[in-house]
Symmetry: C2
Subunit: 215 residues, 2 copies
């Protein structure tokens, strides 16, 4: 069985959990406690030289980087597809995924927020830093989805795909950690509602994870 090295609150691990659930692939979770620094231990670094989650272990291989893992899953388990057939549409889906994965999430993950604290920012400054990148990313995403003009409620159609795997975790983090209101982003709000009602997204949710704190 595949093993996903994961942390309940990591947005990048959350993406891969959604993809695994959408594909219906059997996997087990191996928690890595980022708050305790477990990702820096030598045995974990041997699995993931970046000391980041997620890592997917499968057949003796250690796959890293959430988008690379999800593309692999989509090639290995083609049903249901996470990318459309049309090349231009595929590029639009990948671009929307990359807005989150390249231009929003990396600026708000734990190691970067710690570095922002290291520059002297107080907690209000750290939150303002994170909120600013999330908000500008959401504005761009809303416009990209609008321009693509597909029906919803998911980013590019009635069924979830690669873009939803990255956007839904960011919507969760934006609301849960930074109390960002989705009202100015109607397409993202519709995606969020659809994800909250979808079995794969429910199973992959941070609060459904074995390492989540008990409520």
């Amino acid at each position: 069985m595949m093993t996903l090295w994961s942390y309940w609150r990591s947005g990048a691990a959350h993406r891969v959990r959604i993809a695994l659930e959408l594909k219906g692939v059997a996997y087990q979770i191996a928690p890595v406690d980022l708050r305790a620094g477990a990702q820096k231990a030598e045995d974990y670094r041997a699995r993931n030289p970046q000391a980041l989650v997620p890592t997917l272990e499968v057949g003796g291989h250690r796959l890293t980087q959430s988008l690379a893992i999800i593309e692999w899953l989509d090639e290995r388990y083609p049903t249901p597809p996470l990318l459309p057939d049309d090349p231009i549409a595929r590029a639009q889906v990948r671009a929307a995924a990359a807005v989150v994965a390249c231009d929003v999430h990396p600026l708000g993950n734990l190691r970067v927020l710690n570095a922002v604290r290291g520059l002297g920012a107080d907690e209000a400054g750290v939150a303002s830093w994170a909120r600013g990148w999330i908000t500008s990313g959401f504005e761009a995403l809303e416009r990209l989805l609008e321009d693509a003009g597909r029906e919803g409620p998911f980013a590019f159609g009635p069924e979830p795909g690669l873009a939803d795997c990255t956007i839904a975790p960011q919507l969760y983090a934006a609301q849960d950690r930074y109390a960002i209101d989705l009202a100015p982003f109607p397409r993202l709000a519709a995606l969020d509602s659809a994800a909250q009602a979808h079995p794969a997204f429910i199973a992959a949710h941070p609060l459904s994870q074995p390492d989540a704190p008990e409520s």
Copy 2:
């Protein structure tokens, strides 16, 4: 003909120029002067809602996000391939590309360095911020390439591919802007030398661009 909205010194535009040159596709450069804020003009934002470069205009479509554009190019023009055939190998190549595109470059681009200045960092602090992310990314990349165990001089073989499209621009920026020595990274140093001698990389180089300052 395709039009690439580009800035000579943008690492993300640089990646797409390399891919276009490797594919031998005809394109024209439309410069966007990031230093002058041209990316924020309304007519450019209509092309790219993130107000970032690159944007590739092709057949009435506006493609954004460098990795999504390169994947599209690779699907539309399959020769020479930028990804291997084997699914696990494809995941390794995409992961190496993502180390740069998700975890190094976004922390050192113009808008983020300006935000770091906004937190009160002086120029030495800004350079130290950028150098730290580049160095830790290169350490991880060197180990990922070592673990993959492919022959060089490019990241995953004797011919360049998707990973090289992202790594080579980051190697240029690291040396040109931050005087980072590649000696501790023998595989990256070999990639850098091979890229400097390769016609596609030479044509795509920042200093070969129409909007580069005259030397």
